[in-house]
């Protein structure tokens, strides 16, 4: 598209770019403050602690498991929301979004309450399926906090993939499953991947529900976010910041990946 004639600097460009600059400066100021408050030595010291290393490992393991679960759910659920219309589908669509708008603490309380109901007690009675105050509970909290994001991203990705091409695949000899696997899924894969990355990034940072549902028992149920809380609660800001810096670095890598998937890779089929 050719450039619009006229001055390149006008009121709209000045206001919007100024707003952008203020916001970026605010974010960078926070990061700079964190960096100023801590140093490499104290970071190394904190990261050498067994409790912290355990929390990092547990964060990565649980968020990895959550990622697998979110992907396994978000693809079929997002596809169903995108492709099928049935009575009550609008309500179901809204319910899927509920965990996004629910205050995180309420997710933790709701999970705790659920496992005091007869159904919850029955689940807890199964030896290998206990959730309350266990590592599996961490995954459950992370899943509830992030699945909606994955599902929403999957629905958007399938919405963008032309449904008529799946129909055409049927005339070319595909079963419905093959049309899904050979057409819908590859066409939606950039959006699906971006949704998965976003969900994983959020899972690593989940905090509120964990504190209520699984507690913060060192070397058992503490993850990076709860380590930060425990350190701050006893007035140790530097160790908390060291872990926070690690989380921040992981978040940055995730965001770069997300933007790569969401922009340049959006037209990955183009030459």
């Amino acid at each position: 598209m050719p450039a619009v004639a006229g001055p390149r600097i006008h009121r709209v460009s000045v206001i919007t770019i100024a707003a952008l600059a203020v916001f970026v400066a605010a974010v960078l100021a926070l990061v700079a403050a964190d960096l100023w408050f801590t140093d490499a030595d104290s970071m190394a010291e904190v990261l050498a602690k067994q409790e912290v290393r355990h929390a990092v490992r547990l964060s990565l393991a649980t968020s990895g498991a959550t990622l697998v679960l979110v992907v396994a759910f978000s693809i079929p659920v997002g596809y169903a929301l995108s492709r099928y219309r049935f009575p009550g589908s609008v309500v179901l669509d809204a319910i899927v979004d509920l965990p996004i708008v629910m205050p995180p603490v309420i997710v933790g309380i709701s999970l705790l309450v659920f496992f005091r109901t007869p159904v919850g007690r029955w689940i807890e009675s199964i030896e290998w399926l206990r959730f309350v105050y266990t590592v599996k509970g961490i995954v459950l909290c992370q899943f509830f906090m992030t699945a909606s994001l994955g599902i929403r991203a999957a629905k958007a990705a399938f919405d963008a993939a032309d449904r008529r091409l799946e129909h055409l695949a049927l005339t070319l000899g595909c079963t419905h499953w093959q049309a899904f696997r050979m057409v819908a899924l590859p066409m939606a894969r950039s959006g699906l991947a971006a949704g998965a990355v976003m969900a994983w990034a959020r899972a690593v940072g989940v905090f509120g529900p964990l504190l209520i549902f699984v507690g913060a028992v060192p070397m058992r149920t503490t993850v990076m976010s709860t380590v930060i809380y425990l350190e701050v609660s006893v007035g140790r800001i530097e160790p908390a910041l060291a872990v926070a810096m690690l989380l921040l670095a992981m978040a940055m890598v995730t965001l770069v990946l997300l933007h790569w998937l969401g922009s340049g890779r959006r037209q990955w089929w183009a030459p």
Binding site: R164, L165, H167, L168, A169, L170, T171, L172, G173, C174, T175, Q178, M182, V183, P186, M187, W268, W269, A270, P271
Partner: protein, 239 residues
Amino acid sequence: MIRISGLAFRAGDFRVEVASLAVESSEYFVLLGPNGSGKTLLLSCLCGLARAERGTVIVGGRDVTGLEPRLRQIGYVPQDYGLFPHLDVARNLTFALRARGVRHKEALSRLGPLIDMLGLRGLLAHWPLTLSGGERQKVAVARALAIEPALLLLDEPVSALDGPTRAEVLEQLHRVQRQLALTTIHVCHSLDEAAAVADRAGVMIGGRLVQAGRLEDLIARPEGPEVARLLRVGRGNVE
């Protein structure tokens, strides 16, 4: 050959009815009609993407009315060609064979004669987005022919092309159809286009097939004022 009798189906509030239509083997049949007359819907029903409420569709002696699209062996080329944007031309062409479990390389080798017939050899590594309209059309036709269809359905195959390309593509379509002796139904608006390829033609108005026969007969003896008005435009678009 294809025989349609008592076919009726609904798309929302719009009803499509074809009381009787026979298209002979190797015949090139053109379906004319204004926008919104149900031509595309009829093609969708023939290839199984819309469910018939009643009536029968017999293709090559086989009743395909209740069959899933994949079992009908009907090639369908939609108006926008429907190339898969995430696959290069080669993989678009081998799509149907790969769905049947044939490996890509073997499928490509099997499709060699078809690829050469349509002059697509030089385009195999290209992506659909980089092709011209005429090239996309050829790839879409070749992809539909890869299933060795008993019937080929073309939905306004040249409507998106410019004049010279349109004539060239029409000529090629006609040649390929003759070469493969393929029963073909071609939907379009233009009498010129119909005259260039049709053995026979039919006119659809308001969801109903109102007349079918040789194009000259339709023009000479239109059944009813609506058909007459449609065909009166002569060498222009039927609107």
